[in-house]
Amino acid sequence: MSALLLPALVLGPLAAGAVAAVVPRERGRVRAAVGLTTAALTALACAVVVGGVATAPGHEVRVALAGWEPPLGIVLRADAASAALLVLTTLVGVAVSVTVAVRDDAGGGPAFWPLWLGLWAALHGVYVTQDLFNAYVLLELVTVGAVSLVALGKGRSAGPALRYLFVAVVGSLLFLLAIALVYAEAGTLDMSAAAGRVAPGPLLTAALALTLVGMGAKMALFPLHSWLPVAHPAAPAAVSAVLSALVVKAALVVLWRFWVALAPAAGGAAHVLAVASGVAGSAAVLWGGLMALRQRRLKRIVAYSTVTQVGYLALVLPLMAPGGEAARAAWSGGLLLVVAHGLAKAAMFLAAGVLTAAYGSDHLEDLRGAMRHRPWVVAALGVAGVSLAGLPPTLGFAAKWQLLAAGVESGQWWWVAALLAGGLLTVGYTAVVLRAVSAPADAGEQAPEPPPAAVPTVQAAVPLALAVAAVVLSVLAGGLAGLVADTAPRGLA
């Protein structure tokens, strides 16, 4: 059953997106209905597939498409890591769909639906594909959807969208070159088959480096991050949530899968590249945190926070390098962090969207009194901030704990320092936001407390639900980590 449904996770939303594109734009309600139905069915199919992965022997569900095994055909394979990502995507996807269905301003109008459904399909594909070129095509689909969605923002969103497009396409091209190199040596595009057919040498080193840089650009890894803080404020609220929670993760997943499959064969060169990734990640943690502290607009703060969190995720590569227990801890910690960050960031951006809609601005000065008028939305911001900072009792804590364990286990203290510094900075900018929204209206100035506009209750409840999910899932974190660790890589030793 789950094997039958695995391709449907990609093709279903894709077809629904195509159908939504045919519905005239004036019939926004019909488009929303298509979107919500698809979200419900997708969630159901995801549950079946995740259940299938949990019960299947070896915790994996595998489908050879068109009946052709590699090297001729393409294989889709869902393992525990895919399952974790599918859970995240379902939660965020349903939340975003509900938000936009209630008030389509949040997504930039009815044009949101076809693009979002197509993007959703592509994300599912990225999590389960085993084929390098297929991953490239899926990333292209992700890029087309994400860039168009950013361009739906009000005002001057075309420039930031174009900038994002250029960066993303250059990243794709570098990855394509890497694929060509791997194919030239291995003679196959299947990741696991290629792993056994490559040897250390300039070819493999170049492929790993190109993938690191290409995917680094797509996931906004410092110093290639400059498109992200520009794109977020321009994009509609729901699109920002998708962009930060899911889209940058697609590139990250491709990087990790590529790395896990091919880096062990590269020997010392992979070590050097992993350290480079760690250095970039540490710089991202510090730079993103400092920049977030300096911003005065809520969306920009949350955007720079993404730069920080992507930095953590880049640390996973060097932490995995020693293999053994450390690699298991780093891998499961990294995946948990992806889930935790996705939930927290989606909650934050959706909350920011609600506040922006209510107060007509996301400048911190204009949000005074929000604590009193929109307590649940502010609570969502707070809980999400706590999870981001990695404090108990949240999923973020469980994830960072694993990463710390990996660092201590392998004696890589310097990465631990970056992790801790990042946590402090996160506490800092979360405090800045909370302080601003809790400030009484008459603090300093005589201006009256800005009257908030009405926002549908459902829309205000969604961010809180996501933030609460980050807390609830922390109870399951132990089991989840154990399950995920089974798919852990062997390290670079």
Partner: protein, 304 residues
């Protein structure tokens, strides 16, 4: 030096020269024109590299449809001063390019001589794949998911482009007589050429993407000549754009429900299935590309 290697050396030098001119020219129009020339030279390069499929695609998409799109964007835009790259930027760029070239040379020289597994595997399995031409068999059968997703990329690109045009398509400007006359001849010729490429695709280079480019060319000519039907933003146009993807997904779902597995084509009807999907795809690609062109053309006319 043999005549063949003279040709190859000149060709390689030509590609480099045209690419450099396209990148370094400060005038935007000049750069775009050079880019169109690059399309021609690249088509010749692919022909020389014994890759007629790509030569055909480059001629159709690289210099044809993309050329029309780029030139249309530029010519309706007021001539603005091009930005001249600073001397430092040029020097740094050339240095970086040289380093990248050297690194790539090292890497490419490390490519092993042993042939890839795939050509043999394709040759072995192509009977019953539904197409005699290896490229078509790979695109429509062995790796059909990739092709489906590529078609989806175009669908969502067209949807995205359409979403950015916030006004309905305007009535056409008066069309000069020679354009109308030319359209009458060019339109059927392009449709005929596209149909030929589509049918040829099962046994030799050709197929849905190249044929789609021809259909797009025909629709663009119709649009320029004042026709406001399929190429506009109507529901019918959008339906045609997504038809290819939907047909492909329907085929996939059908095969899955019949118990054969997703996208598994029975050799008995694989040929018919491949040709049907290719035909719908070609029309979809044509209408989709034309929609991008129209959206681009209309977006510029909106006074902002």
């Amino acid at each position: 030096m043999s005549p063949a290697s003279v040709l190859d050396v000149v060709l390689a030098a030509a590609v480099l020269a045209v690419a450099l001119v396209a990148v370094l020219l400060p005038s935007r129009r000049g750069a775009v024109s050079a880019f169109l020339v690059l399309g021609v030279v690249l088509a010749v390069l692919w022909a020389r590299l014994d890759a007629p499929d790509i030569a055909l695609a480059e001629a159709a998409l690289g210099s044809g449809v993309a050329g029309a799109l780029l030139m249309d964007t530029l010519t309706a835009d007021p001539a603005r001063p091009g930005r001249r790259a600073g001397r430092t930027a040029v020097v740094v760029g050339l240095l970086a390019g040289a380093v990248a070239l050297a690194a790539l040379t090292v890497v490419v020289r490390a490519v092993p001589d042993e042939p890839s597994l795939l050509p043999a595997a394709v040759a072995e399995e192509i009977h019953g794949a539904g197409a005699d031409h290896a490229v078509t068999a790979v695109l429509l059968n062995f790796r059909s998911l990739d092709t489906l997703l590529e078609a989806a990329v175009l669908v969502f690109a067209a949807a995205g482009a359409g979403a950015l045009v916030r006004t309905p398509v305007r009535a056409p400007d008066p069309v000069p007589a020679p354009v109308t006359a030319l359209a009458r001849v060019l339109l059927p010729a392009l449709v005929l050429l596209g149909t030929w490429l589509l049918l040829a695709g099962t046994s030799r280079p050709g197929g849905a993407f190249q044929a789609g480019a021809m259909f797009a060319g025909a629709l663009v000519v119709a649009f320029v000549a004042g026709a406001r039907f399929a190429a506009s933003q109507g529901t019918a146009a959008r339906a045609w754009t997504v038809a290819g993807v939907l047909a492909f997904v329907a085929l996939a779902a059908g095969t899955a429900m019949l118990g054969q597995g997703w996208l598994v084509l029975d050799p008995r009807w694989a040929g018919a299935a491949v040709l049907t999907v290719e035909t719908v795809l070609a029309v979809s690609i044509g209408v989709g590309l034309a929609q991008v062109f129209v959206a681009n053309s209309e977006a510029r006319r909106v006074p902002s």
